[in-house]
Amino acid sequence: MKRDWLPLLLIPALMIGALPLIGSPASWVTLTVAGLAMGLMIFIMASGLTLTFGLMDVLNFGHGAFIAVGAFVAASVMLALAPWMTADSIWLNLAAIGPAVLAAMVVSGVLGLGFERIIVRPVYGQHLKQILVTTGGLIVAEQLLKVIWGPDQITLSRPTALRGAFLFGDVAIEKYRVLAVVVGLVVFAALALTLNRTRLGLLIRAGVENGEMVEALGYRIRRLFVGVFVVGSALAGLGGAMWGLYQETVTAAIGAQVAVLVFIVIIIGGLGSVGGCFVGALLVGLTANYIGFLAPKVALGSNILLMALVLLWRPQGLYPVAKR
């Protein structure tokens, strides 16, 4: 197949285009790594959402709840293991982060299972009701987080091994951002391998395109959807945990705040497309960091502008999924 490289080329084009505007190569490298890290964290949170929309046309505005729960659960575990977080041993740091991330994914995944059963399932095929009821779910979840963890923000410190930056001459690259890039790429590779090299992935790709026909071939698409929903929620939990450490604070509104970026990313990428979500996330991350540096006053609207430009060029997103 003739691959559509054009959207992918936007990433290096954006990077190269930003270099003369930023001027200093050292600042450019720092901003680029920061943009990639931010983009990949958003990708982790958004990948499940785009697949659930593609599979069952479900508009889940409550996705931010899984992000927030992941952030809070991870924060609680890390605070409980604070001595390990502040230890000078990287192994002790990992021994604290590992269970925190795992707990965040498990709790968000289980929450996703319940959310699908109780909130999403009764409104299959009814977009307006989906928007209303999942937004309501997000509001309830936010209030419950305040009840459980209190209304104040939680301050998180990164583990000792992830504090500071790698220095290469004038260039400083935060260690945590490098980790975020590595984790994001691992998640992307795992998703790409699953989708392109396994029968399960084949089913998901076919289901995103035409779920009714997949059912006519004898496969139960709803079970598949529930599985994808749970995995997507767990990934949102992972992303929430990483985002909490990135911001070093966790509030009940963290999910709703990031969800805006998540929705921009899946719309830019093309609803249902994991590859598009990946490219869209990197574009959003890079744009936010470059514009934040060059013109801080317009930084807030930069991603909306990016989305508008992409949709003017490709109204179905960068990689539209062929729907029935």
Partner: protein, 241 residues
């Protein structure tokens, strides 16, 4: 008399507020090919989709191999050995030809002998094996849609307008394939507008009109009765080309 493989009794289907099927009744005998004919909008596609459970029957009963499948879910109906080729073909455009067929073969990797048999009839599928199905021509997509239904032996094939838009050479191959299938392992229920094709292949015929089956009988008798064709299909024989 042997029990029919598929039997519909008083089947009614609504799509939204529209009442499409008004009590469809017909039988499909095992081992043959039954043609489902009728004017546009008579309810043929709705009948196939209702059998597959894609649209729910509001009333009536659908039995397959003696079993009531009226309220079964689509995947469970498919797992009984019923394959469906929709009029839209519904191939997975982003998947390769190979992936489309691998997905349709539920019990494991496609059998090579079976694949060779399909390739002998639909050679283009072999040629474009690794190409995304969305890049195939209309005729090739139709071949793939049919191949997907027959990649494994199925007891009943529901095929909606298989010759629509196809070149004569491909139609001839399709006739060969359907003939071998009905003489061998499968029973076919085919919706068709091309009466020449229908007459060549059909053993039995059911003609629908306004959401009901207005006539059921042998194809030979129907093909010989121009007046009945004129009455039920509204067109003379010479226009059914």
């Amino acid at each position: 008399m042997a029990e029919p493989l598929l039997s519909l009794r008083g089947v009614q289907t609504n799509i939204g507020r529209y009442h499409i099927l008004h009590g469809v009744e017909f039988d499909v005998a095992e081992g043959g090919l039954t043609m489902l004919l009728g004017r546009n909008g008579a309810g043929k596609t709705t009948t196939l989709r209702t059998i597959m459970g894609m649209w729910r029957a509001a009333a009536g009963e659908i039995r397959f191999d003696g079993r009531d499948i009226t309220h079964m879910a689509t995947p469970d109906i498919a797992r009984l050995g019923i394959a469906y080729v929709p009029e839209s073909m519904a191939i997975f455009a982003d998947l390769t030809v190979q992936e489309n067929l691998v997905l349709a073969a539920r019990s494991g990797p496609p059998d090579q002998k079976r694949l060779d048999w399909i390739f002998a009839r639909f050679e283009a599928l072999k040629r474009f094996w690794t190409l995304p199905a969305g890049l195939l021509s209309g005729g090739q997509k139709q071949m793939l849609a049919v191949a997907r239904a027959i990649i494994e032996p199925r007891r009943l094939l529901l095929i909606d307008e298989p010759t629509k838009g196809l070149a004569p050479a491909i139609i001839a191959n399709m006739i060969d394939a359907f003939r071998e299938l009905k003489d061998g392992e499968s029973t076919l229920l085919v919706v068709e507008q091309n009466f020449v094709f229908a007459r060549q292949l059909g053993d039995a015929v059911a003609v629908m009109d306004d959401g009901r089956v207005a006539h059921q009988g042998s194809m030979a008798a129907f093909a010989a009765d121009s007046a009945l064709q004129q009455h039920l299909l509204g067109l003379g024989m010479d226009t059914h080309q």
